[in-house]
């Protein structure tokens, strides 16, 4: 019984969101507002049990009082709700910005910079495997030309401009492929919802 009620509620909410494809309407507005509220509530409870409890409350309970700093900075963040003293929240923001800058500085330099460069500089010619050799060549040329395109300190003219032009071709192919991939992922979500409506709810698909 509980399961059936759940299926009906989920199906009606799904139809409510789909109704926007016709035009904006109160049914959609209701579902949209419910989605906003439920999402906020979900993240509120999730952050409490998965972050606040293990990282703050449990550490304090175990006598690691240094973690009170996290609680203080967190409460300072909430002061943003009060306009007169909202500026204090910038201290917490500074902690977030500093941590992000410090961590990303090394993390991106290593993973996106060094490792990607290392993976590009590889043995190009693979004996007895022409397609792989051509592919490796495409990667080296594409990456180099793509980087040339991103170098804006020199005008894109002459040979340099030629490399930049080849670079933009590769970037366009990359964007096109990413776009195609995104469309397909949305399509699979859509098929999942249609399968829910026609299969789980109406029982028309076995």
């Amino acid at each position: 019984m509980v399961e059936t009620i759940g299926i009906w509620i989920a199906a009606i909410l799904t139809l409510g969101i789909f109704s926007f494809l016709y035009k904006d309407n109160p049914f959609y507005k209701f579902c949209e507002s419910l989605f906003v509220g439920v999402s906020a509530g979900y993240w509120f409870a999730t952050t409490f049990w998965q972050v606040m409890m293990p990282k703050l409350v449990d550490n304090l309970a175990a006598g690691r009082w240094i973690y009170i700093i996290g609680g203080i900075f967190g409460i300072l963040m909430l002061l943003r709700l009060f306009p007169k003293i909202g500026w204090i929240s910038r201290w917490s923001l500074a902690l977030v910005v500093g941590t992000t800058a410090g961590l990303y500085f090394t993390r991106y330099l290593v993973s996106n910079g060094m490792v990607q460069t290392e993976n590009t500089i590889m043995p190009i010619f693979v004996t007895g495997n022409l397609p792989q050799t051509i592919g490796n060549l495409v990667i080296v040329v594409g990456t180099f030309c793509g980087l040339v395109y991103f170098f804006f300190s020199k005008e894109h003219k002459g040979t340099f401009g030629g490399f930049a032009k080849v670079g933009i071709w590769f970037i366009m192919v990359s964007f096109g492929a990413s776009f195609g991939y995104t469309v397909m992922s949305r399509m699979s979500l859509l098929l999942g919802r249609l399968d829910y409506l026609f299969g789980t709810w109406l029982g028309l698909i076995k």
Binding site: A40, A101, T106, V138, F170, S178, G180
Partner: protein, 215 residues
């Protein structure tokens, strides 16, 4: 006080984490875990700030009877339903069989999945208007997108089934994803890495201070 303290906090935390990367031994490695934990705690409070602000905005909308004010009640209802049940269920709130999990299954998941699935229609409509083979670059984007989309569905396999193995749409899609796409993405990723390194340095050295001034 208003500007100097945030800049000092940023510099101390940021440079400590950079030093810790190069000296991963005690006591320096403890700093990394500690600052990461602080980051997660403050980020969690930032999420709470967003939720509380949402409640405040909707309370104002309801109180001042602004456009669509009845829907503010729905936002409040959805929020408190999830929060009360989530707190009531305790640490195992996301275990199958709990009330929170049930609500997640019948409210959050279908709404979230449907909201993102309708983007398929908007993306299709936008691409119909924007995807015109005006020049060489636009044509390459169009062809790459078409190949990837067709190569990932049975219809694409059906269209190219008469071609020899290795030249079918699925094979071409794999090749595009493995080589030209990788090359383009790699150039973008290396560019992003260089951009993040330079902007991080600017932040840590106090050259970029808009976050501290609130302007």
């Amino acid at each position: 006080m208003r500007r100097e303290v945030p800049l000092a906090i940023t510099a101390i935390v940021g440079f400590t984490l950079i030093v810790v990367y190069f000296i991963p031994h005690p006591p320096f490695n403890h700093f990394r875990n500690f600052f990461e934990d602080l980051f997660f705690i403050v980020a969690a409070f930032a999420i709470w700030l967003g939720c509380l602000n949402l409640l405040k905005v909707n309370a104002d909308r309801f109180y001042f009877k602004r456009k669509g004010w009845p829907f503010a009640i729905v936002v409040w209802f959805g929020f408190f339903l999830m929060v009360i049940v989530g707190f009531w269920d305790g640490r195992g709130f996301m275990n199958p069989g709990t009330t929170f999990y049930y609500l997640y299954d019948i409210l959050y998941y279908p709404l979230n999945a449907t909201m993102f699935s309708i983007l398929a229609f908007f993306v299709a409509s936008a691409s119909y208007r924007a995807f015109r083979a005006r020049n060489k670059e636009a044509t390459m984007l169009l062809v790459a997108a078409m190949v990837v989309m067709l190569g990932r569905v049975p219809f694409g396999y059906y269209l190219s089934s008469w071609l020899p193995e290795g030249w079918r749409l699925g094979n071409i899609t794999d090749w595009v994803m493995d080589f030209p796409q990788t090359a383009g993405q790699r150039a973008i990723m290396i560019g992003i890495a260089l951009g993040i390194v330079s902007s991080s340095l600017r932040v840590l050295l106090g050259l970029e201070r808009t976050f501290a001034s609130g302007e």
